[in-house]
């Protein structure tokens, strides 16, 4: 008996040997696969972040306007000065409000997309949700300054609906109102909500997509009314998606420095404060200390969410 081996492999012996070695030595393969991205991630992302955090302990001499390498906790202490703490509170309040609003608006849309939308409708909604994200963020924000201005379309609509007096009353509410929509916290809130809404809808929609319909049917079958099914089955299963979305809206609002400059009343936000400190003032250490604030807040938020069992369903 004679058997013939047909060699279909035309590659060079070296390449073949190399492939076979990779196939046998899984660890070597993983090492080659992961080293470049891990270097990029480690050096560029985490490295620069730690460099920044390290600088938050440097000393800023307000007389010479110079930064020295002497380590101090003074920058962190000054975060609690009345003016600085105001900035943090102002930003945090807006971030919470925007997160709640995007969740309340985003959930029904995501729910409709998942449960009721036909293929075509789903496609339409995906594009409708994503389309604003294709346009430049600055352009959109400037567009909103026009929309919200007194000659803008929103005022025009409100006047024609005869609701001017209602708007005036709303604008007189302290903390929310202002002289005009464009200079009020309400206007700023509307723009933030508009800009970050897709970041809330998409994770919720992905989470809803993963909930099998028969769990909702099982709940109804066991006697749960729709509200009970929502609270006891749907919401707990989708909550990780809501948390994921709110991390986006929350942290993006906390760090934003464009919208607070263009829309709403004067008064710094964390983002604008960092921008000012590292730019015109040159107080890099305080700017660095301010960037630690959103990181800490997100961390607290996540541990609270974890404690409520938000990630149990993952």
């Amino acid at each position: 008996m004679q058997s013939t081996i047909i060699n279909t492999d035309t590659s060079t012996p070296f390449r073949r040997k190399f492939s076979n070695t990779l196939y046998r030595k899984n660890n070597l393969f993983l090492f080659l696969l992961l080293t470049p991205p891990l270097l990029w991630f480690g050096v560029v992302y985490l490295g620069s972040l730690f460099a920044l955090l390290w600088q938050s302990f440097y000393t800023f001499d307000s007389f010479s306007m110079a930064v020295t390498n002497d380590l101090t906790l003074e920058n962190y202490r000054s975060l609690f000065d009345a003016t600085n703490f105001d900035i943090i509170l102002r930003t945090l309040t807006m971030a919470v409000a925007v997160t709640l609003a995007t969740a309340l608006i985003g959930f029904p849309i995501a729910y409709y997309m998942t449960r009721y939308g036909s293929r075509a409708e789903k496609g339409f909604f995906y594009i409708a949700v994503m389309l604003p994200m294709w346009a430049s963020y600055i352009v959109k924000t400037y567009a909103w300054t026009v929309i919200l201005s007194q000659q803008g379309i929103l005022y025009w609509c409100i006047n024609h609906l005869g609701l001017s007096s209602v708007l005036n009353h709303v604008l007189q509410i302290p903390a929310i109102g202002g002289n005009t929509l464009a200079t009020s916290n309400l206007g700023r809130f509307i723009v933030f909500t508009y800009i970050w809404l897709p970041f809330m809808i998409l994770p919720i929609q992905a989470a809803l997509e993963r909930v099998p319909t028969n769990l909702l049917q099982a709940s109804a079958d066991l006697g749960a009314k729709p509200a009970q099914t929502f609270r006891r089955v749907l919401l707990p299963l989708v909550f990780p998606g809501v948390v994921a979305g709110s991390i986006f809206t929350f942290s993006l609002t906390l760090g934003d420095y464009i919208i607070p400059q263009l829309i709403g009343p004067s008064g710094l936000y964390i983002g604008t404060m960092v921008y000012t400190m590292q730019g015109s003032v040159g107080n890099m250490p305080l700017a660095a200390a301010f960037t630690v604030v959103p990181i800490t807040l997100i961390f607290i938020y996540l541990s609270l969410a974890k404690r409520t069992g938000a990630f149990d369903a993952l």
Partner: protein, 349 residues
């Protein structure tokens, strides 16, 4: 005077249809399931049996017709207002709750106090021999255990009708046979109506009081397992329930002189021997050629071409030695007694 339909009828379909666009998932179905009955709905996938079950549960609403549950019109009422509970095909256990919370769910949403709920849930878990598993998550259980949790979760609500949607489909053969036995015992013990959907004809035959055979959204036959097997009314039933040879009219004409299809079970066809010769009139004889032989342990399945049709015969390996079995392409004569033939209503397969 309010006309009350039969008090002993648990679920009654009167000319029920469910259409999806042009697709008739359920087409003009009328059935009555008696209280306490183990009723199976059998059919291939897409035959409408699961849709019927979902119509009873309330996940689907009929396009036409009426569904009565214990004499009350159910069409239009939501699932949470029906006295039925479902065991789902893939169990549909809530992944974010532990086992005992899953079982207690139905009681909790009805507003029963927490201690009472958990007491009943623990009892239900004991009933399915899972008392120690209450604190586990469904993801930590095996398929058979999940199956039992799903059963306990439905039964704890004391439904008057239990709907089972291919509940054993995902289990391996041994476990399936064990669960069949357990379900049957449970049914006897509880005395409630079981409506059982399956595509496995042997499961339906062995467990049910009555079986409805579905094909293309319609009911082919509703009967006891024995009658379904012995007296199938249509060629579909003859073919689907057990294995059967359906002799189409052309060959039937030649053999019986009647232009009507009939079915004959493989085990009723014999190789021609001299013993049968005395009662010639009752015997049908036919010549054929062996095409294939499959060994199945206790039996051998022999495929014989007769005219332009294939017939299956089943021969016992305990009665015949290997040498006595027919060989491929061997010519042989088959025979069967006339009274084993079942005449079929329609001739379309």
């Amino acid at each position: 005077m309010v006309a009350i339909s039969n008090a002993f009828t648990a679920v009654e379909f009167s000319t029920v249809s469910r259409h999806y666009g042009d697709v008739r998932a359920v087409d003009d179905v009328s059935i009555a399931v008696a209280e306490g009955e183990f009723f199976s709905m059998l059919g291939p996938s897409g035959s409408g049996k699961t849709t019927c079950l979902r119509l009873i549960a309330g996940f689907e609403q009929p396009s036409m017709g009426s569904i009565k549950i214990f004499g009350k019109e159910a069409a239009g009422t939501p699932p949470y207002e029906r006295e039925v509970n479902t065991v789902f095909q893939d169990y549909a256990l809530f992944p974010h709750m532990n086992v005992v919370d899953n079982v207690a769910y139905g009681l909790r949403v009805k507003g029963i106090t927490k201690p009472e709920c958990y007491k009943l849930a623990e009892q239900a878990l004991e009933q399915v021999a899972l008392a120690e598993y209450g604190q586990r998550k469904p993801g930590e259980l095996s398929g058979g255990q999940r199956q039992r949790v799903a059963l306990a979760r439905a039964l704890v609500n004391k439904p008057r009708v239990l709907l089972l949607d291919e509940p054993l489909g995902a289990l391996d053969l041994k476990l399936r046979e064990q669960m069949q036995l357990e379900l049957k015992t449970l049914h006897k013990k509880l005395g409630i109506t079981f409506i059982y959907v399956t595509h496995d004809q042997s499961e339906a035959l062995s467990m049910s009081d009555r079986v409805a055979v579905f094909s293309r959204g319609r009911i082919e036959q509703v009967d006891t397992p024995r009658n379904l097997y012995m007296n199938p009314k249509t060629s579909f039933v003859a073919d689907f329930v057990g294995t059967s040879n359906v002799i189409k009219s052309a060959l039937a004409q030649q053999l019986t002189g009647r232009n009507q299809s009939f079915s004959i079970r493989p085990e009723h066809i014999k190789l021609e021997t001299n013993e049968l010769n005395d009662k010639q009139n009752d015997i049908i004889k036919v010549a054929g050629e062996v095409v294939d032989i499959q060994y199945h342990g206790a039996t051998s399945k022999v495929e014989v071409s007769v005219g332009n049709q294939m017939l299956f015969i089943v021969l016992s390996n305990t009665e015949l030695s290997e040498a006595e079995l027919p060989k491929i392409s061997q010519k042989l004569n088959l025979c069967w007694s006339r009274n084993r033939m079942v005449m079929l209503e329609n001739q379309v397969i």
